[in-house]
């Protein structure tokens, strides 16, 4: 089985976010980057499937050279080879176009990724890739088993779970508890040095969106306690200060 795992290179979840270039770009100075946590689940499940029944795992990232440490980590965890599409991942459509282009050249049985990235959280890439390739896409997938050419999935839906059987090939947006995150071991890190990492140029740079401005949420104000017997004061404050009435 050939598995493609698409990973994002995103700011650590504890990063203090700020912007540059007139609030149009993330300020990357001093920011620690990690593999998207949901992508990490997808990668772990892909490695488990490979360990159980053979095959290959290819990691794909759309990003500039700065993302290579994140790609090497995926190789250290157990992926066999990697492809980096040498471009800034500007929006979901652009990223999906690149993934679909790579997938068309290589025919994968399974294309796994996180349910969403944790920087822009669009959650659209898996659906777009499925459409572009004309194959099913499912998200968010919490359980994934393969039996022959069929994938058995469990998906979280509003108020419950859905069990699905889908023919391969398939695109899945993954989340926990599909697998446990894997920590690369020292031998894996050493062997990742020599695993192939191919850099390819992007196809068709069609920009459908442009960022005009980022804004941080307003800082949380202090909590004011109003005694129950002063309900009128509370209403006044909701009118004059919070301006919600």
């Amino acid at each position: 089985m050939k598995i493609l795992v698409c990973i994002t290179h995103v700011p650590d979840t504890t990063t203090k976010i700020s912007f540059t270039d007139n609030n149009t770009k993330l300020n990357k100075a001093g920011v620690q980057f990690i593999t998207g946590p949901y992508d990490d689940y997808a990668l772990s499940r892909a490695i488990e499937l490979k360990e159980a029944s053979g095959g290959t795992v290819t990691v794909l990232n759309v990003g500039l050279a700065e993302t290579e440490p994140t790609i090497r980590k995926a190789l250290a965890v157990g992926a066999d080879d990697a492809i980096r599409v040498n471009a800034e991942p500007t929006d979901a459509f652009f990223v999906a176009t690149q993934i679909a282009s790579i997938a068309k050249q290589n025919t994968y049985d399974l294309i796994l990724m996180g349910r969403e990235s944790i920087d822009f959280n669009s959650g659209q890439v898996h659906g777009l890739v499925g459409e572009m390739l004309g194959i099913p896409s499912v998200s968010p997938v919490m359980k994934l088993d393969i039996e022959g050419t069929t994938a058995k999935l469990s998906r979280e839906i509003e108020g419950g779970k859905e069990q699905l059987e889908v023919s391969l090939p398939l695109v899945a947006g993954c989340q926990e508890p599909i697998a446990e995150w894997k920590i690369p071991n020292m031998r894996g890190i050493m062997t990742a040095r020599t695993k192939p990492l191919k850099v390819v140029e992007p196809t068709g740079k069609e920009e459908l969106t442009t960022v005009t401005k980022y804004e941080l949420p307003a800082p949380k104000g202090a909590c004011k306690m109003i005694p129950a017997e002063e309900a009128e004061k509370l209403i006044t404050l909701l009118r004059t200060e919070a301006k919600v009435l």
Binding site: I118, E176, I189
Partner: protein, 407 residues
Amino acid sequence: MATSTLDTSVSANKKQANDVFESPDFYQIDDLLTEEHKLIRSSIRSFVKKEISPIIEDYAQRAAFPQHLVKKFGEIGAFGPTIPAEYGGGGLDYIAYGLIMQEIERGDSGMRSTASVQGSLVMYPIYAFGSEEQRKKYLPKLASGEWLGCFGLTEPDFGSNPAGMLTTIKDAGDYYLLNGSKMWISNSPMADVAVVWAKNEDGRIRGVIVERGMEGFSTPEIHNKWSLRASCTGELVFDNVKIPKANLLPNIDGLKGPLKCLDSARYGIAWGALGAAMDCYDSARRYAMERIQFDKPIASFQLIQKKLAEMLTEITKAQLVCWRLGMLKNEGKATTTQISLAKRNNVEMALHIAREARQIHGGMGITGEYSIMRHMMNLESVITYEGTHDIHLLILGNEITGIPAFK
């Protein structure tokens, strides 16, 4: 839309949310590391947060050895990371080895001791002084954690003066006969294999590999320690143990054998102590920011700031010492005395920081809620083993003056 339970506000890994350790890097020493070094550090840090932090306090309080971690250390690659991959090692450099020791001791000095002994004192001599058969027989099983090893040099009456040892090996034709005893041996009660140093008929110190199950070989445990409580420590007792001739380390003769092993282990300790110091500092900094007295965080007070500023200064200096020493090790140029300086400086630094951090934590600092008191008690062993604090002064004194004060 269904929601994920992934809590992105606290930590990338919700299981590790309790252990929020971050290492200081005031002088941007990370710029001196490769991406691979940083990945090694973050992997071992994740391993420690997942496997050690959640359980270590309980094991230390009960004075029990978490034996299940031996296999896990093997899986992550903490045993013999500098040994070539063909023998099951990691084939990594000495900066990588140092970072691994730093991160494990950040969790607990006893756990770092287990890994240090296995890598530097058991696997290293078998690799450096052993025959090809010995390397193939022992190293892969020690690397994977299938076997645990220990190192027998110190004796009840010969600690700082190992040359006076009384343990002997005598050639008895088909085998050697080993007699004597060793004391303060980390891992001994659980060890499958022991690298033991003993004097032959000519008074020369030789190394032999002793295996559990050999007749006359026993490993009584030392109880009631107030330090390294989660590490198992014991004796090695040899009563006419028949050692096959194939178990003699062929390529080393004399005290320089065990001393070379100690060079490697002391190098790891210099980094390890840095890890313990970082943990104490990080915990103290967080506590000082959160603990309110006189209506403000205690971090607002000058005496607390003085402690934190001194801690960061000493940690930064120790980081630079470790990094430079690691580069010298990589080039094969690090000397015994350079390693002595680093071990001595960094362990004292860590112990001092543990005591200061204990004060910042107030009464909470003596409880098992925080790692501080455990680090402090552990470091009392670390400042004594692998060359006492004072002996390292004499090693440096000898280097400076050419006059040995320990003879």
